[in-house]
């Protein structure tokens, strides 16, 4: 039997071949995702977008303790907010996000609500998230007790001067996207004694109407 023997000039080539094969083995194992304990790996790419809201997708109203069975939405050009005992008024604002086509697996990266104070007063207005359905055409003071309203204010603004006021509502909108509907906020005076008003979606001046900037992912 003839013995196989690599001559010296070929030994270097053989060594290089061994190294190449080893490297190839590493690469091949990596390409297959092999590891000692890794069973599965994947990535998910997100799509970013904006879907700013205006009065065309807004629905708003206010309810009056003095008129507990009356509705005030639909035609009012301002929404009254009052902390005055026995004559309290709460405002409600929401936006219909269906036109944004954001799936429930998406979310808000940033959302800022803007309201415009038309009648000023030394009140602090707090926004409480509403998570159950309501309509401006039917909501009354008595109906508010049937809504699901978060106990913690999302944010506040001072109504001591007229003009645009902004509140960051990112977490609320993010939750609403995942829930499939944005039912908006109850605006209530949590300090002060004045009756104030913010522009409604029906306000004759577009700049006075509620709006919301929204950046999202999906």
């Amino acid at each position: 039997m003839r013995r196989f023997r690599i001559k010296p000039p070929l030994r270097l080539v053989a060594a290089a071949a061994i190294g190449t094969l080893s490297f190839g083995g590493v690469g091949y194992a990596a390409s297959l995702g092999f590891s000692t304990n890794k069973l599965f790996a994947w990535s998910q790419t997100l799509t970013k977008g904006t879907c700013n809201q205006t009065s065309t997708t807004a629905d708003d109203t206010y309810v009056q303790q003095l008129n507990p069975t009356s509705t005030a939405g639909g035609t009012a050009t301002t929404l009254t907010i009052s902390p005055i005992a026995a004559t309290q008024d709460y405002a409600f604002i929401r936006f219909n996000l269906s036109g944004c086509s954001i799936p429930t697996t998406g979310g808000a990266d940033s959302a800022v609500l803007t309201v415009n104070v038309r009648t000023a007063g030394a009140d602090t207005i707090s926004l409480f998230p509403v998570t159950s359905s309501w309509s401006s055409s039917t909501l009354t003071w008595n109906g508010v007790s049937g809504l699901t309203i978060g106990p913690t204010a999302t944010g506040t603004f001072s109504a001591s001067s007229t003009g645009a006021k902004t509140v960051t509502v990112t977490a609320d909108v993010d939750n609403a996207i995942k829930a499939g509907n944005l039912w908006g906020w109850e605006l209530r005076a949590t300090s002060g004694v004045a009756s104030v008003a913010v522009g409604a979606a029906e306000n004759v001046t577009a700049a006075n109407r509620p709006s919301m900037t929204l950046s999202y992912e999906k």
Binding site: G25, V26, A29, S35, F40, A41, W42, K178
Partner: protein
Amino acid sequence: MKWLSNIFGLALVGLFLFVGVAAAASLGLTSGQLGAGSAAVSGCTASSLTATRNVNSSGNVTQVNVLSVPQACASETLAVTLENSSHVSLGAASTTVGTCTGGCTVTVTGFGTVSAASVTAYALSLTQ
């Protein structure tokens, strides 16, 4: 003794190849982690799962929810990396998949302060 040397040499070649594969494994290299798609090998699932995230009032990621994780993945480690558009890690966290009926929604927390607006991809992996 030459034949013995040759056998030893061949054994050495085999050993190098084995070590090469093992080295890749020990490095945890996978095509999925490189953002080049997914590479199912074996185990509890062969499908890409869907992840969502929650944010706080500042717009920072508070948790990532991985939806419909098969029950077969219980007790495995689910790792999530938040990546920017350059696939650079902005934060990472992991948790052990618990037991549940049907598909589990697994919540992963502890990413630190990461703005959701900066996150453009999730890199996920399941390990034993």
